[in-house]
């Protein structure tokens, strides 16, 4: 029961965000995946080339949207939050 409560508490701290980017090829996907996966607080990640989106689930106690956006920008890609 304790474990379940702890898991629920952790999940509650996780936040989802989807960025629209200008990725255009598989190598862009690789570059974003290889770098974002190891950013502090990132818990899940999906880069979709067809939709040109980057979905990130993150721990809001360790990172935030602005930090993630900066990481994507630093890698050379645009990042606008998809509403």
């Amino acid at each position: 029961m304790k474990t379940l409560l702890l898991t629920l508490a952790l999940l509650a701290a996780f936040t989802d965000v989807t960025f629209l980017t200008n990725v255009h090829c598989q190598k862009c996907v690789e570059k974003l995946e290889e770098n974002l996966a190891f950013e502090k607080g990132v818990k899940d990640l999906k880069v979709n080339l067809k939709d040109k989106t980057v979905y990130v689930r993150y721990d809001s106690t360790k990172t935030n949207v602005e930090k993630l956006r900066k990481v994507i920008n630093k890698l050379g890609y645009s990042a606008e939050i998809k509403k």
Partner: protein, 703 residues
């Protein structure tokens, strides 16, 4: 499965002929096309886990070993990259020199055309050691296409083509470093640096150094298990891309390799030095705005020098080669594409040889010049028909004296039919031709005390037809579509140089298939591949093949006569099965790889049936080698910008016992001074269990 399909598209672009260079080679232009929205709309994400898989989009039956696949094992060099493929078998030419050889469709790798980004490589003198000269970590992917491929790259691919894609100048990785060490002291260092210099220019520098430094003789046969080797190579590749679509690619490569093997303390040594230089240039010129009409030029030149001592023999061949391809491609009509081209290959060889009074092969010049055309018909995604015709003139000179093979016509056909999305049917067939280099093609004969009985002159032109097909089915299972693929290919030679170890005692007899009144040489190769992802991030592939290879061989100890007997081709494994399982944790921070293979038996040479171990027991009482398993495991831990991996090879510790054959001395070692000494009868692993560890560091480009 959609993911696989889409990376297939990307890699298909890489496989396509250079004529499509302008329009197709966009996948590696990441940096230049940052803001493009049109170029790769179809090329969508793929699981980075995908190691080896069958391309759905390819017109030929094509197995792709991706960058992820090249990281599943130590894969120090190209030869080792095929360990988890059932299509390609990897072995040694002999037990002393370290030369590796592959087999595709049950035939020696000399019948498989090796391509470096669609330029023919590893030809002639470069073939025996070439597979060890391409570091696995220099490569981005490998494509193995079975059967008679497009005529555009020439006709030397009889059983298929293996194309290597190197790391690209446009990769946004200014620095990549890979270092690894094996428990047998083999150490590898690879460097790659891709740099973009403005909008039009980019380059990649590739460096490699490797070697093993400790003498080992685990099986106590008096010979080094693995020769001491040192290899270093450097390559530099450039890409220029003009805003109007013009592309120029050129590069240089240099390599030096030394190998010292043979007896630990006895007199029989092998001492080999290889120097290899290569330069190439490819130019693609668009002829209209959408690049649907274009011209391409591919030029390649190489020089290879070998200085070799094999016991009492010395062999110091040199080869200079040039290759030129001019292509015009028209894709203006959507359903009908045309390619026309002119091609030429020129090789000049000198082969100083000293071996038991055998005359050295004459200096020779081998030339091929021709024209080709290829027509492609597309009916949406359902049907593709490709018909190609190559018209070639073959001319060869020996010490200036002409002995040409004349004019040859070679047709090739490919059909791909996908009646529904879940089913792909393929057929291809055609003729292949290659100049043989009997001594180089069978370099293992130097690691014997045998006499060479030569019954050919010059470089006979080997001639074969290959036909085959493939049916692939896709069905839902687990996380994505699973695939099941069935293949059948048949290669039938009309001319072949046969190296017969069985005709005479203590001799290798070389003769031509056409010199036999009833000569036949063929292989039938069957293969089944199954691939699925039963749960997320767990991939499973299972492949199995069966090969029926037969050759007409002359009877034992009969010098006259031309009537032979059709027999199972010796030293050719009948079957192989490979299971690969990979599991990656969330965000792929840990990756676990497990590969198991079961290798079938082969018929040994007749003289091997009488061979005994030190206790006098027959080594091959039923005339066949045993079936043996191999196991490989690897664990990878990934961090931001770097990863470490630990692995084990040949965990069953199976090795071929008594790999050195001949008359045994009192201490059980073989007497290398006698003509029955033979270190070339290799069918299994020479090294037992090995552990390795390595690190890969990647520095990504940022703004």
């Amino acid at each position: 499965m959609k993911n696989f399909r889409k990376i297939g598209l990307l890699l298909l672009a890489a496989l396509l002929p250079l004529g499509t260079l302008v329009a197709q080679e966009m996948p590696d232009t990441v940096g230049m096309y940052r803001d493009r929205t049109d170029s790769l709309s179809e090329a969508v994400t793929v699981s980075a886990q995908g190691g080896n898989f069958l391309s759905k989009r390819s017109d030929l039956r094509t197995e792709i070993i991706s960058a992820a696949g090249l990281c599943k094992m130590a894969c120090c060099n190209l030869a080792e990259s095929f360990e988890n493929s059932a299509s390609v078998s990897v072995g040694y030419s002999d037990a002393v020199t370290g030369a590796r050889q592959i087999r595709l469709l049950g035939l020696s790798g000399i019948y498989t055309q090796m391509l470096d980004e669609n330029r023919p490589v590893m030809r002639g003198l470069s073939a025996p050691f070439g597979l060890s000269y391409v570091p696995g970590q220099w490569l981005e992917s490998i494509q193995i296409a079975k059967g008679a491929a497009s005529v555009i790259n020439g006709l030397e691919g009889i059983t298929g083509q293996i194309n290597m894609e190197h790391r690209k100048p446009t990769d946004e990785k200014p620095l990549f470093v890979n270092a690894s060490v094996m428990s047998d002291t083999k150490a590898d260092l690879n460097l790659a640096s891709s740099l973009q210099l403005g909008d039009s220019w980019s380059t990649v520098i590739l460096g490699h150094a490797s070697g093993n430094f400790l003498k080992m003789d685990h099986n106590k046969d008096g010979f080094l298990d693995d020769p001491l080797q040192l290899t270093y190579s450097l390559a530099n590749r450039w890409l220029y891309y003009a805003p109007d679509g013009l592309q120029v690619r050129f590069g240089l490569k240099g390599l030096r390799h030394t190998s010292r093997g043979g007896e630990m303390s006895g007199p029989w040594k092998s001492d080999i030095g290889n120097t290899y230089l290569n330069a190439y240039c490819k130019v693609g010129v668009p002829l209209n705005e959408d690049n649907s009409r274009n011209l391409a030029v591919v030029a390649d030149g190489s020089y290879h020098k070998m200085d070799a001592v094999f016991g009492p023999s010395t062999y110091n061949p040199e080869q200079g080669s040039a290759f030129l391809n001019l292509l015009y491609q028209d894709q203006t009509i959507e359903q009908h594409h045309f390619t026309l081209g002119l091609t030429g290959i020129y090789d000049h060889l000198v082969q100083p040889l000293s071996r038991f009074g055998l005359p050295a092969p004459l200096p020779c010049s081998l030339a091929m010049a021709g024209a080709f055309g290829e027509y492609t018909f597309h009916l949406e995604e359902k049907l593709t028909f490709i018909g190609g015709l190559h018209a070639n003139w073959y001319g060869d000179w020996y010490k200036g004296e002409y002995a040409g093979k004349g004019f040859k016509l070679s047709p090739r056909v490919t059909v791909k039919y996908a009646p529904i999305e879940q089913v792909v049917l393929r057929f291809n067939g055609g003729r292949g031709l290659r100049y043989s280099h009997p001594l180089i093609d069978h370099i293992g004969v130097f690691s014997t005390g045998k006499a060479l009985d030569v019954n050919y002159s010059g470089n006979p032109l080997e001639d074969a037809w290959t036909f085959g097909g493939n049916a692939t089915f896709y069905f839902p299972l687990g996380e994505h579509d699973a695939s099941l693929s069935l293949d059948y290919f048949r290669t039938q030679f009309t001319q072949q140089v046969i190296a017969d170890y069985e005709r005479f005692d203590n001799a290798v007899s070389f003769y031509q298939l056409r010199s036999l009144s009833n000569g036949r040489s063929f292989t039938n190769a069957y293969q089944i591949d199954f691939s699925c992802e039963p749960v997320e991030r767990l991939t499973l592939t299972l492949t199995a093949r069966y090969t029926d290879a037969r050759t007409t061989l002359l009877p034992h100890n009969v010098r006259e006569g031309s009537v032979g007997q059709l027999r199972e081709t010796p030293m050719t494994s009948r079957a192989k099965a490979v299971l690969n399982i990979q599991y990656a944790t969330h965000l792929k921070k840990w990756i676990f790889d497990f590969t198991a293979s079961l290798n079938g038996s082969c018929r040994v040479y007749d003289f091997m049936k009488d061979q005994t171990d030190a206790q006098g027991n027959l080594l091959y009482p039923n005339g066949r080698t045993p079936v043996y398993p191999l196991l490989f495991v690897q664990v990878t831990r990934r961090f931001k910008g770097w990863e470490i991996y630990l692995g084990g090879e040949n965990l069953t510790n199976f090795t071929q016992k008594h790999v050195i054959l001949g008359t045994r001395r009192a201490d059980g070692t073989v007497d290398t001074s006698l003509p029955n000494f033979d270190a070339s009868c290799v069918w299994g692993p020479l090294m037992g269990i090995k552990a390795y560890a390595g690190v890969r560091i990647t520095l990504w480009k940022t703004v």
